[in-house]
Symmetry: C3
Subunit: 175 residues, 3 copies
């Protein structure tokens, strides 16, 4: 009778680590109706090309929702027990939030984490680990990795399973 959603999963990994493909395979293997929330904003050609490539790679069995900011609202709106919802990725969502002038990112992060146990869909959240390099010289980059690290801790605390992906291989951290 726990309210904890035992099917929620957090997939953390580096750039080009295979984390998205691993998350997509988890979603596919669930047998549920697949929904995809793309948080990336197509604000330049490099980004536009990546988004289009990813959409093409996923194929037609996915329903895609593009949502750069209102992630919690979108999760609530499309929530259903028959669905698996893949959010890719949290670091792009954070990037978008940081560009909003009046956004309280800690509050948004806490609200997203608090929502997860209340959803009936299986939710898989993907994010980039960005805190394992040299301290960035750029102040905004330092703030970004602080926001990302805090969000990752909050999300990891609320989900059932956490994987760290490197070189396409998952390492189970929780679950």
């Amino acid at each position: 009778m726990s309210h904890h959603n035992v099917k929620s999963t957090f997939v953390l990994g580096g750039a080009r680590s295979g984390k998205s493909r691993f998350a997509e395979n988890l979603a596919q293997n669930s047998g549920l109706e697949r929904h995809y929330i793309a948080t990336g904003r197509a604000w330049d050609d490099e980004m536009r090309a990546r988004i289009a490539q990813h959409k093409h790679d996923r194929g037609p069995l996915w329903t895609t929702h593009e949502e750069p900011l209102a992630l919690a609202d979108t999760l609530k709106r499309i929530d259903a027990p028959s669905r698996v919802v893949l959010v890719d990725c949290l670091t792009l969502w954070l990037t978008n939030l940081m560009m909003e002038e009046t956004c309280d990112i800690k509050a948004e992060s806490a609200a997203l984490a608090a929502l997860l146990p209340q959803l009936s869909a299986s939710v898989i959240l993907v994010s980039n680990e960005v805190g394992l390099g040299i301290v960035p010289e750029n102040k905004m980059a330092r703030e970004f990795r602080d926001h990302a690290g805090r969000l990752h801790q909050m999300i990891a605390a609320e989900v059932a399973d956490v994987y760290f992906v490197a070189a396409g291989l998952p390492l189970k951290m929780k679950g």
Copy 2:
């Protein structure tokens, strides 16, 4: 009859990975008298705010020692079997050493690692992994991550337990 201090622990993790909180929980759970060596130097407002916040978060049950350079001497001075000593963090200590003109960092690193098995206190050392990003363009940053990587290897070889922390979750690497 081993001289090896079986209670020493090395906690390695990224920025905002939850490594300090994990280390503080280890210290608290030891039931020993808690001492904290803060190696960070309050050389600007951003740093001063972080140090003050950390001190406030730890609460009144900790005795705090601020020591930017003479880490080994401080460990020897406060050493006692009734104590757990948390060093947070080694990368800030390295940063301070690099600002000293006449410092032999390899020798200092080796001396710290060699001291650990001789202490009677339970020692928990926290450090930032900084070597998993792109090679920095800045030469001093490259030297810094070389120093950090070498120090981490030396420390990991001397302690009983090593944890890698990501998203607040510990992964045991040794012990």
Copy 3:
């Protein structure tokens, strides 16, 4: 009767993580005739010093082949079941490929990965994980970590064992 080379190993780690020493110990413990393919190019004093130091550290029991580009050809040429071949490292090889104007890096990466199961030597490949820091501002650095991430996934899929090394400690990801 599998064509899969069960002795091949991929060692991934950060800068100064101890990954090369770990790989060298694997090679030494194999009891096989040791060959070393150094992919680094001595294009400045810092690099020259590193290469010379590494060669000195390995000692006289190794046959060293310096090969910045034709890695697959070199592996084929020196292949023999009596040998262990250590490739150190893939990220330097990628760096060299990126400096060639007409190189198809995805094709080169795929060709190297496809070659591995066909070799009779025990092959140990070392590489730097570079995708766990902040997104680099430099476009070439972003391309580099994309190439590295893709190559690491391809290599990890073809070898028998994969280790992630941090602070000198191996974490087995596969095998």
